[in-house]
Symmetry: C2
Subunit: 205 residues, 2 copies
DNA sequence: TCGTTTTTTGAACAGTGTGTTGTATAATTC
DNA sequence: GAATTATACAACACACTGTTCAAAAAACGA
């Protein structure tokens, strides 16, 4: 698998990387919607025609970049959760998501704000919802009985909550620490999610 | 108050209303970002120059329109909550927000999706968070002691959850009913929010 | 290293939307 | 009905898009 992917032309790698970096830096400076393809190619020192040889439009560049980033994150998270599943709900909350937000704080501060992109916001939330459902909800689902709420709805509720928390945190210049934020949000979530996934009580006679 | 506002030229009212309606119908058809000012003025049968006499840009038109809508909603909600505060948390959840979403389902189905507007999403969430904090959280705050979580963070968490719920609901063509959705979300919320707002336990000796 | 393949460049193009300027026309108000 | 005010229409310079093409440059593989 890793051997087949060796055949990417250096120029292609270089061009795409330059465009990615240009996009990132411009997002921080001007906000996503305000950026033009001209801006990006100028900043990257690449002919505008070249852009269209690699990406369909601005969104395409953004989403291809994000896909790479999130594939790497997903791998890490998978591994992280692998040895957490045995102990049920850990007492120490997993702060790797808040840590990731902190690592790209300038980027997310824009992209999760009014100056970001609706498509980005909605996609990240859907992605998060799916991850949460697979890695958090599914493992703690009771083996039988109908839950009070549809599990995929719960995934969306938590994802919406998470993203709101990221926004709130970034607006306050990341106070308090990622660890505390993660603990706060998890504590709040768990007290809802356990009930939500518990089997329905039979109707009163 | 209501008498002073009587002096608005009919032509102005008519033009603005036409532009508002044009925007709304075009959002449903093409998504927000895809719309141009030309599109709007064409649909409204108004000269393009006239648009700039009333609004700065597309966002300005959207937000002025939304402001009017939400002012009306806020008035209704204020009144609704006025006679709910005595009984603490009602056993019947307030579904007026889901009902409002249903009334403008076509509009929100676009505007809360990838084809909507980031500024709209973030503003609506902030607006919701503020409303929730004032009308839901503040009344049930214990009179003394520090809560486990900052109340404004809790407002954002719930607002993010609400909007995620609207999105989930609209994607599923509003199944189940608004009443059930409201009950689900409230039940999920309350089991977190009560803990979040309870006074902190003193540290272990 | 050399010849081949592939990518990048730069110029040019038509097309579309923007935001602003005038002046003329139409509607509304008092 | 006269004065005021909003709208219409045409025109403008400007910016960005998405595409084509031939020439130049870079990377590849043997």
């Amino acid at each position: 698998m890793a051997e087949v992917a060796k055949k990417v032309d250096r120029r292609i790698q270089r061009t795409r990387e330059l465009l990615r970096q240009a996009l990132m830096s411009l997002i921080v400076e001007r906000g996503y919607e305000a950026i033009t393809i001209q801006d990006i190619t100028e900043r990257a020192n690449v002919a505008r025609t070249t852009f269209y040889l690699h990406f369909r439009d601005k969104d395409d560049l953004l989403f291809q970049t994000m896909r790479d980033v999130y594939e790497e994150i997903a791998a890490r998270v998978d591994e992280h959760y692998a040895h957490l599943l045995q102990q049920g709900i850990p007492d120490q909350a997993d702060a790797s998501d808040f840590q990731h937000i902190a690592d790209f704080a300038e980027f997310y501060k824009i992209m999760l704000s009014e100056r970001g992109s609706a498509a980005f916001l909605v996609r990240v939330r859907s992605y998060l919802a799916e991850m949460i459902q697979k890695q958090v909800i599914a493992p703690i689902m009771p083996p039988s009985g109908t839950p009070n709420l549809p599990p995929d709805l719960v995934g969306y509720l938590i994802a919406g909550m998470q993203i709101a928390a990221y926004y709130w945190w970034l607006q306050r210049d990341m106070q308090p620490s990622a660890q505390i934020m993660a603990q706060w949000v998890q504590d709040y979530c768990v007290r809802g999610v356990l009930w939500a996934l518990a089997p329905q009580e039979p109707p009163k006679p």
